[in-house]
Point group: C2
Chain length 327, copies 2
Amino acid sequence: MTDLELVRDLSEEQLLARFVPLLPTAASTIVGPGDDAAVVSAPDGRFVVSTDVLVEDRHFIRAWSTGYDVGWRAAMQNLADCAAMGSRATSLVVSLVIPGDLEVSWVTDLARGLADACGAHGAAVVGGDLSGGQMIVVAVTVHGDLAGRPPVLRSGAQPGDTVALAGVLGRSAAGLALLGAAVADPDPTLVAAFLRPDPPLEAGVRAGVAGASAMLDISDGLLRDAGRIARASGVTIDLLDPADSVPGDLAALSEAAGRLGIDPLTWVLTGGEDHGMLATFPAGVELPAGFRVIGSVRELGASSTARVTVAGAEPPVTGPGWDHFAG
Amino acid sequence: MTDLELVRDLSEEQLLARFVPLLPTAASTIVGPGDDAAVVSAPDGRFVVSTDVLVEDRHFIRAWSTGYDVGWRAAMQNLADCAAMGSRATSLVVSLVIPGDLEVSWVTDLARGLADACGAHGAAVVGGDLSGGQMIVVAVTVHGDLAGRPPVLRSGAQPGDTVALAGVLGRSAAGLALLGAAVADPDPTLVAAFLRPDPPLEAGVRAGVAGASAMLDISDGLLRDAGRIARASGVTIDLLDPADSVPGDLAALSEAAGRLGIDPLTWVLTGGEDHGMLATFPAGVELPAGFRVIGSVRELGASSTARVTVAGAEPPVTGPGWDHFAG
């Protein structure tokens, strides 16, 4: 048995000396890590900001996710929020809570995961905070640049708009289900979709440039997140039959669904955390690369209740709706 | 016994519906909470950003700190980082991890503490994230505006500069020690200094306007934080004898120090978390309101090692140096 180096074997300063050099840098950083605060360029006089937290035993378990996976996912779910406003990420700050008995290599792997997720998109980690604690918590805040464009909100969808999607549906949920069922040889594409989601961030920026009327990233499932646009905009969102609009997503899930005895439509309509970009575009706008039509925006129906339909009818499945506290 | 309403009795949406309306707002917010991200004004084309985390049983315990106290302190330690760059805070985002058996009133009290700490300084809470978890974690990211000025870094102190302080020394440490010793009728001023520090944020902004050459907020004790400026700037920082420079701080601690058998000088020189502004000013600059002279910047000595002296000699006490992981 090798001697594992643990977090409690190092001083905070020593740990930071290992961690900080691994973090990604970017030209938008005016003052980077090491002072009381960082300073970041915001060329158009505004910045986009969002924060998301990952908690051990709630969002991940160490048996399935490496430090690299957790760093990647923590960055990516934040980068997706930035992209869903139509902005390009410039910078992140990371608050990290770690137990003393965690391996140091887990922490440096986390930095590498952060770096690889951010680096491809030109975003830097410009600051952070480190604390001990009983469980791992990774709280990331991301900042984005809109390059002079208006932000794409959830509230701008209009009747007659096209509903379009960039990215995949249901794969992260399927990967999680495969890990949970401990099946032999789970589909590695699906498991990776859960552990290291890779949403089409540039498509979000392109949607902003093209003039998307509303957008969000799908973190809680297509039905639930489409419902958020519907409510914020005061419209009905009618999705096409997924068998017609997203046959590839259904096909990608079919083997795993068969093994677990699950209807793949459930994953496609209610599976979260793929972080695809769900957007609406005014009629006549050419869809940016990466987007495909999956529905249309309609007036509120007779009930005047914002809702989501599938092929004009009640959705064929309903999701549990993720809730962090429900008993 | 009354029926306490617990976090797990509410859905996430219900909890947010109680929490979000309590948060402070500000004119700098272009898009506030409720979308994938917020949008904040950054009029000079840059923003200052810092993040700090508070962890239950590490930075606070529920027996001593109310939700209000924790919200106040989480905001204030971040606001102090912003001020220590010479910037004025515009906006915060908050990631909150809470156990299901926490009282809902604790969470709404936290929002009120955040609001009261921010509100007086014109900063808004523009977004956040909420998750369950075994222990409470409050991760705050703050953003500040420099109004066109250069940021005040730790690295700009020059031999001949004046070392000055705005704010108090040692009171938070004394308050913590009184709580830890469970003494009867502890000095309420000292206890409040620990539970709800109230650093002179505007003095930080004034220091930036006046042309401070270096600055930080004292989070780990005067000696340790002065050492950070010394190292970053490559200088010696020579502090005056505290009996001459900060007699009021020593006097404010004397009763508590007597009760606990501690030299008040230890708290003054090594007590952290008062978040006073420690700054250096070029000779001839008139000190901004709130600052008093506590030392001077000198060339590196013969050893060429950046260090802190007191009245030209080794400091009379040394602190333990806070470390989150040391066994």
